[in-house]
Amino acid sequence: MTSSTPEDPSQPAPVTFRPLGAVIDAVVALADQAMLTVTGPTQAELTRIRDALREPVRIAVAGRVNAGKSTLVNALVGQVVAPTDVSECTRLVTWYRYGSPQRLEIVMRDGSRRRERLGSGASLPATLGIEHDQVRCLEVWLANDTLRSMTLIDTPGLGSLNADYSTATEELLAMGHASAEAIATADALVYIFNNDVRPDEVAALRSFRESSGGLGGAAGNAIGVLSKADKIGSGPDWWDAAERKAKQLAEQLGDDIVSMLPLVGLTAQTAEGAQLTEPDAQHLADLAVMAEEDLELLLISGQRFIAGSEARGRLLKLLELQGITTTIELIREGITGAAPLRAELAERSGIGALRTVINETFRGKGERLKIRSALQAIERLCSVPDTDPDATPLRAVADQSERLQLSPLLHQLAEAEALALSVAGVVPLPDELAADVRRIGSGLTPAEQLGVPGGDPAALRGAALAGSARWRAALVASSPAQARLAQVIRRSYTLAYQEVQA
C-alpha cells in the first residue's frame, strides 16, 4: 500500500507547469472578438473552438469488460454515479461533466438530445427505454468538484463478445482511423489493466496515440492503471506484488504509456464515495476482536465470509476480502469510526497517487494541446479565398492572431512546450540547461524564472544576461531540436530582462 512512503531522494521532484489560464483567456478573447465580425457558419465554428478551450481536459477511461472502468470513474468523482454492473448504461459511452442542474442528457445519433433526471444519489438509471443503436452517448452533468478540472469519459469494455461494446469504444478511441472528430474527442487516456497486457490492448493504446499526435512524437497522454491490485499477490506483501506487476507491465508497454499505477479500485470507490458507514465500521470493529483462528477461517473465501450474515455480505461488496483484511488491521492499529477509516483506506487504495499522476500528466498538457489546436483552428479558419463573404473580417482576425502569437503572453505556451519536451527526454539537454528550462517553464515571476530569490533588480538583470549568453552558446553546438528549444529559452531570458528593466 502507499503507506506514506518518504520521498525517494533518487527521484527528482515532480515538475510543475505554470498555469496557462491567462493564455487561454487571451485566445478566448480573440475568438470572442472575431465572432462579432463574421457570419453564421464561421461564427458557429469559432464558438466550437472557444468552448473547447473552456472545457476541462477530457480523459477517457478504457479497458476490457469488467476491468473496473466505472469503479474508477466513481472513485475519481467521489460518488457512485456510474453503474458498475452489467446494466444497459455500461454499454454506452458516458461523459461525466461539470454542470448544474444535475441531469442526464441522452445524445442521439441524429444529434438531438433528451434530458432525463438522475436517480437517487445522482446515479444513472438501469434502463433508458430507448433503442441502443440510436444513442450516440450519454452525458451526465454533476455539480462535482473533481469534474471542474476534468471531464471523464467512461467507455464500454474492449475485447467483449458483445459487438456493441467494442465498436462504441473503438469509435471513441479512434481505433484504425484517426478522424478529425475523434481527435477532438479525448485529450488523454486512462487505460485499465487487470493482471496482464493483451495484444488487443496494445493496439487500442497505439491507435489512441496515433490519433492524438502526441507532443513532438513523444507519448504522454496515456497512463495505465492496474485496477485490481488486491488480486495480484496474496499475504502481507500483496501491495509489493502489485507494484512489481505494475512495473513489469509498464516495461512491456514501453512508451505507449507514461506510467502504470496499482490501485484497489473498489476500495477507492468505497472510501472516496463515502460508502462505508458507521454501522459498517462497527461490524468491522466486531470482526477485529474475533479470535484469530475464527477470523482466518472466515476470510478464506468470499462465500465463507458472507454465509448467514447480511451485514458481512454488504462489507464484502464494499471492500472484498483484501479490503476487509486491511480495514481490520487499521482498526487493530487504533483507527476507529467510519470517516477516519475511509480516509485511511483511500490513502491505501492508491487513489491519491493516481490523482497526482493524472494532474501532473494531463492537466497542464491538456491546456497546451488545447491552446495549440485552437490557434491552428483559427488559422485554418482564416485562410479563405478573397471571394469568401467573411474574407475581410477574417484577415483582421488573422492579423490579431499573429500579433497574439508573437506577444510575450503566448511565449508562455512555447516555454511550457519546451519544458514538456525536456522533461520527457525528447530533447536531451545537459543538466545545467535542463534546470534552466525547468525554472523558466514553472516559475511564476521573473525572480522564480531566473532562479534569483529575493529579486534584487541588479542580480535579476545579471542572471537574465547570463542566461541569455548561456543559451546563445547552446544554440551553436546542437541538434535542430535543441536549437529550436534554445531559441525559445533565450527569448525567455530576453523577455525577463525587459520585464525587470521596466
Partner: protein, 614 residues
Amino acid sequence: MSGAGEATKRFRAVVNHSLDEFRAVGRMDLIDEVAAETKRPAVEQPVVLIAGETRRGKSSLVNALLRHPGLSPAGPDLATSAYLLFSHGDQSSATLVIAAGTEVERRPIPLDDIGEWATTDGNPGNVRRVLAVEVKADAPVLANVTIVDTPGHGGLDSAEGSIGVPMARQADAVVFVLDAGSPVSDPELAFLRSVSARVDAVIVVVTKIDDYPGWERIAADDRDLLGRYAPELANVPVLAVSARVAEKALARQPGPVADELWRESGMDELQRLLERRVAGRASLLRASNILVTARDGLRTVNGLAALGVAAARGEPAVKTAVEAERTRLRQYGSRWSQRMNAGIAKVKLTHGEALGKGLGELQRKYIGTIEKSKRQEHEAIADQLVTDINELAAALSKQAGLSLAGLVAEITAEIRAEEQLDAIVDQASAAISEYGAVQRVNKASERKLTRVDKLAGFVSFSSGKSIAGIATALPLVAGFGLPIIGVGLGVGAVFSFLMTTGRRDLNLQNNLKAWVQQQINEAQRQISADFGRRMIDAQENLKDALTDYLDRRRAELDAAAAQYAQLAAGAGRQAAVRSAEAEMTRISKLITETDEVLALLGAFRAPARKMVRP
C-alpha cells in the same frame, strides 16, 4: 450383437461415409484432418491439456488437482513458459527434456529447479529451448491421466511459447481455464470454438471464486455466452473452483474443517469429472475426437452445398458476396499499404529519437565517470562503453521489432476482418465449380497455406528463423489460422558496433573524453545506417507480400465472378440444384448418425442440438 460391437460397426461406417462425401467434393483437406486424428500414436492414458490465457491460474489449478502445492511453480511474479507433463509415480521426480542441437536430451533435475526451466523466472519466453519438463507425482488424480500444464496464451510476452490452437486440438481432453474476474472474452471463445471442433472432452473451469464476490454472475454469464455464441459448446460443463481454498484445505490437519474447505474449493467435482469421464478412456476419447472432426467436416460440406443450391437458383447472395469482397479489397488494399508505410515511418522515427536519447545519456554518463577515474581504469571504461553501445543497439532493435510485430498484427487483424467474407467467397467459388461443372478456382486450404507462407516469409526474414520452423510455431491468437507474430523480429539483432579509431593514448582524461565523443558519434552513424538498411528490407518484404496477396485475390475473384455468370446462365441448373439437395439430405443424415454414435460411445459432450451453421 453386443452394444460395443454395434458401436464399433456404426463408428466405422459413419467415418467411411464421411470420407466418401469429402472425396466426392474434392475436399482432400478434410480427409487429411480425419486421417490425422486416426493416425495419432496410441497412448495408454489420455492427455489432459490445461489451456487458457495467461494469469488465469492454470498452474495453481494443477497443483490443487494434484494436491501438491507449489509443484508447478505459480505466483504473481512468474508465468509458466514451457510444458509440464504430470504423470503418476510413487516418488516425486522431474526430468528435463531439452533440445540439444538436433538431439533431444533428457536429464533428471531436482523438483526445486522446475521453476528454473519452466517459468519466466529462469526461462523467460522459453529461451532455453525446453521441450518439456516431465514430472512424476504420487497424486490420485494421475492414476489414469497425464496432465499437461501449459504456458498461457493471449499475453504479450507469451506469444512464442504459448499453446496454440493446433497444439490444443491434439489433446485427448482440454480443461479450459477462465477466471471469475471477467466473463469469457472474444479471443477466449474463438480458442474454445476451434478446439471443440476437434476435441470432444472440453471442460471449462472458472477459477479464483474465493476472490471475486461476483463469481456466480460471471460463471452464469460464461454459460450464457458459450450457449449464445457457440451452440456447439452449450453442453460443455462449466465448473467453479478455488485453488486457493483447496490449498488452505491441504495446509490444514486432516479433519472436518479441512474436508469442508476441500468441498468448498470445487476441486472434488473437477476431479470426479476427470476420473469418471476422462481417466482410462483413452481409446474412447480418441474415437469421439475422430467423430467430432468428421462432423466438423460434414458441416463444412453441408454449408458448401447450401451455397451451391443458392448459386444455381440464381439467388443474389453469392454474387453479392463476391462483389462485396471486391469492393472491400479495393478499399482495403490502399489502406493497408498506407498504414504499413506510416507504421514503418513511425518505427524509424521512434528508433532515431530513442537512439539519440540513449547515446546522449551514455555520453553524459561516461564523461562523468572519466572525470572521476584513475588512469589504470581507462582501458576498462573504454571496453564498457563498447558493451553499453551494443546493448543499447540491441535493446532498440528489440523495441523496433516489437513495434513492427505490432504493425503486422494490426494489419493481419484487418485481414481477419475480411476473412469472414473470404469464407463466403471461398464457399461460393467452390460451390459454383462443383455444381456448375466448371474448373475450380482454388482450394481454400491451398490459399490459406500461401497466406501463412507469405507472412512466415516475412518473419523469417527478420528473425533469421526458417520458414518451416516458424510456420509450425506460429502462435495462433484470437482466431482460426490467423498468425499474430509475437516477439523475435530481430531487426538489427546481429548488429555489432565497431570502433573506428584505436585507443592509443587513452591514459589522458581529455584524450579519453574525446575518444568517447568520437565513438558515440560513430555509433550513431553506424547504428542508424544499419537500422535504415534493415528497415528498407523489411518494408520491401512487407510490400511484396501485400501486393502479391492482393493480386492473387483479385484474379480469384474475377474468375469466381465469371463462373458465377456462367452457372446462372447454364443449362444444367436444375440438375445442379437437385444434386446439391440430394447431397444435403445425405449429409444431414450422416450428421445425425454421427451424433447417435457419439451418444452410443458415451462421448463427453452430449450430442449437440440441431446443427445450424452460423
